[in-house]
Symmetry: C2
Subunit: 147 residues, 2 copies
DNA sequence: CTTAAAATATACAAAACAAGTATATTTTAA
DNA sequence: TTAAAATATACTTGTTTTGTATATTTTAAG
């Protein structure tokens, strides 16, 4: 029903790298994001495999964004981790053939597809550059409100 | 990540009762919807508990909608089964306190909230009367196309 | 007033999925 | 040559979903 932790972590990891603007090793990322090192490594493997981040082995190794943050969307991260975009219902996935009781005409499927499309559009329309900007604004609002 | 089967079944069960316009026993519903009898009973217990359907014990017992289908929304079914509306991310649920690495200012949470609100609004805006109407239209389209 | 067909309550079990961990290996800057 | 890093692969644990079983209660009909 919910986004998995893995996707949530992946988003935060990319955000972290976008913010750092420099190469970071897995241990630092894992500490900053409060994700176990091993799990972070696993996720970063997927992100690197999808070409969103670059990885470097050896001493001075680590990870960095593969391109500027205004060229990475939330949807790309979702796909990197999940292997596809968001889907509201299982029945929208390949080979599901669910027309359970609907005699080959399922009006729920249509509806779920609409919701799915909308969410994916949202995820696609937001880049990590925008997320950084949002955070900056939000911090300013908070400090202004705190006076 | 996906809607659970339980919610999917619940939607279909309510749709089935809306379509039937009469009292049906659990066995018939389970057969029509291709859901195991036991699981269907469990789900209908929740739907009855939430006041969406009425249940009748004994011979000639069964289930029927508690009110006209134009007064039942998809969101109500979601809440009956899940105990709350849709939430895109766990971090939006009570007592989650996730500001992991975001120093008390999580811009993802804002975003997930926006998506959540949108989906809930969708679910709230559609009644089962509308779903019946949709199905009718869709069938007409299909048979027209098949000539 | 008995009976059989129905729902209900409660608990249990199995399966699927998510989350996290461990070990051995490879790469590379110093 | 060495130590710090990533990588590959497999394994374990925990949680959630899904489904099942048993005993009980209710009720229309004969």
């Amino acid at each position: 029903m919910y986004l998995t932790q893995e996707i949530d972590y992946a988003m935060r990891i990319v955000f972290c790298l976008a913010k750092a603007e420099r190469r970071m090793d897995a241990a630092s990322i894992s500490t900053e994001m409060c994700v176990s090192l091993r799990f972070a490594l696993k996720i970063m493997g997927k992100l690197a495999g999808a070409g969103l981040i670059n990885s470097y082995k050896g001493i001075k190794g680590g990870y960095e964004l593969a391109c500027p943050p205004d060229q990475i969307t939330l949807r790309q991260v979702m796909e990197a981790v999940e292997g596809r975009g968001y889907a509201f219902s299982r029945c929208l996935c390949e080979g599901s053939d669910c027309n359970r009781g609907m005699s080959g005409c399922c009006v729920f499927q249509q509806l779920w597809q609409g919701i799915t499309d909308e969410v994916n559009q949202q995820l696609e329309s937001v880049t990590f550059a925008q997320m950084l900007e949002r955070e900056k604004q939000r911090r300013e609002e908070l400090s202004a409100g705190a006076i």
